[in-house]
Symmetry: C2
Subunit: 304 residues, 2 copies
């Protein structure tokens, strides 16, 4: 999977950081899931190879303007640019109203079906290779974090081990690979499960909405391959972070430590920080959680 940070700023657009949006590309089929859609997300997309029609799901963390005001425009352009496949949008209660009123007032007609799912908590879907869980975080308005879990894949077929006992390649290899039992011509029964390597662990990606540090953040991030966490303010500004329901760099790092994630990406950086401050923000996060990077607009991260 490949993550592209389309907007990494907080509250308002600034010259070098647009408001929030994150694209998660599934490299197997090219489909894209978008997390949040601040104003001018479609403008940011113009500077990438992302095709709006490849966006199949949009997950909204919370309804603050810097996370949703780019939705109506993107939905219209997705249609105009040839999008015909259905699109599902997940978000807190209220997202439906915003989308429906925006599209109807502007008489934006979409050439695709849109499904809007206003969820509250818990597992929001389990389809194909993935399930996604959402939990409420701690923000001025209901804000959610998402845990994207790729299901484990069965291990590889141990071909050498099969050949050793005289089972030669053929169509029955696929059955064995699926963990089924086959009968050989000599009457022997072979159970595929005995000839599979260890399961290939699915990847876990956690993307959180705006939040103070909280237990749900840690639960959502538990053992994740990547945790994308807001760090609106620097380590000295814990009081302001608390007051405005945000996190500091150190607090994001502490959540990463508690959840034992593999990598932390900090984003949603306040526009009070100039370009030259970014290194310091990354550095101070690393004091607590060494495998940290600070997100930047249009930066890509591959999740292996």
């Amino acid at each position: 999977m490949e993550i592209t940070f389309l907007g990494t700023g907080a509250g308002m657009p600034a010259k070098y950081r647009n408001v929030t949006s994150i694209a998660l590309k599934h490299l197997e089929d090219g489909s894209i899931w978008l997390f949040d859609c601040g104003e001018a997300t479609q403008h940011q997309i113009l500077h990438t190879s992302i095709k709006p029609r490849k966006i199949s799901k949009i997950f909204i963390t919370h309804l603050h303007g810097d996370h949703i005001f780019g939705l109506p425009g993107l939905l219209g352009s997705r249609s105009f640019l040839g999008g015909t496949e259905p699109l599902t949008i997940y978000g807190p209660k209220g997202i439906r109203d915003f989308i429906e009123v925006s599209l109807s007032v502007s008489q934006t007609h979409l050439n695709y079906k849109i499904e809007i799912i206003e969820f509250e908590d818990g597992q929001i879907f389990d389809v194909g290779n993935f399930k996604v869980e959402a939990k409420l975080l701690e923000h001025a308005i209901p804000s959610y974090g998402y845990r994207v879990v790729e299901k484990d894949k069965p291990g590889v077929l141990l071909v050498d081990k099969l050949k050793e006992i005289g089972v030669t390649p053929g169509p029955h290899y696929q059955l064995l690979k699926n963990g089924e039992t086959i009968e050989l011509e000599d009457g022997r029964l072979i159970n595929g499960k005995d000839f599979l390597g260890p399961d290939k662990k699915g990847r876990v990606i956690t993307i959180l909405g705006d939040t103070r540090p909280c237990d749900h953040a840690v639960e959502l991030a538990k053992d994740a391959d990547i945790l994308v966490h807001e760090a609106t303010l620097d380590k000295e500004m814990e009081e302001a972070a608390y007051e405005f329901f945000h996190s500091t760099t150190h607090q994001a790092a502490q959540t990463a430590v508690k959840a034992q994630v593999k990598q932390l990406v900090i984003t949603h950086i306040s526009s009070r920080y100039e370009k030259q401050d970014w290194v310091r923000l990354e550095q101070e996060t690393k004091e607590i959680f060494p495998n940290t990077v600070i997100a930047e607009d249009l930066k890509k991260i591959i999740v292996k």
Copy 2:
């Protein structure tokens, strides 16, 4: 007055032309009127000296997304950036719904009063030095054009002529300048109106929403100093322009000729045209109306 083109594209943002917005700055007091507010208008403003808190009125031509989706974000940022003065928004029926739902869903609280005026036709205001008139154009949905009329200013006081008859400078000069009659010490009555130069003609600026050529466009533009007219398509594409309720370069020019305007600015240029095509579009408009310029994002035009 100074016009800044914040967005000059059509339908969707493109790399070099954002969707529509035009800022009209009153140089006397620095106040700004915005015409339309497509997505990322506030982003474009970041590249100008415009301060969102100086925007006092917003005129919406029509409710298509490329003309309104930047409103909620701009309204929020205007508050965040210190705007406390009231703001009035004029637009067709439906604009109130869009603004109110966007602000309420996103829980955007404004530190200023907002007045939304949904008009239908005719003179929409007459305050201070200006009046503004709106008329319905010909588009797929109700689309309006605006005629901004600066009132004539009384001519200068003819000081030399007054001195000739022995009226020396003093506080009574102001009364004469206002066209009042004063009595001199020697009993003579002097009527200020007899000592004023010719009225200084107020300027007229006409800014139209998306439209096919139509009579109302000509009426709104009559004798204007500047006509801002859409020219979505080139002169060969009249049929498509008709079908999609837009104008070609030649049609914009013909309206300028009929209305006898001083200068024509074409905008709302389709993204089908590459940067190198723009000169040709301007050139072909000039074939019919020589004093034409093609708008570009962030281009400024002074209205003398």
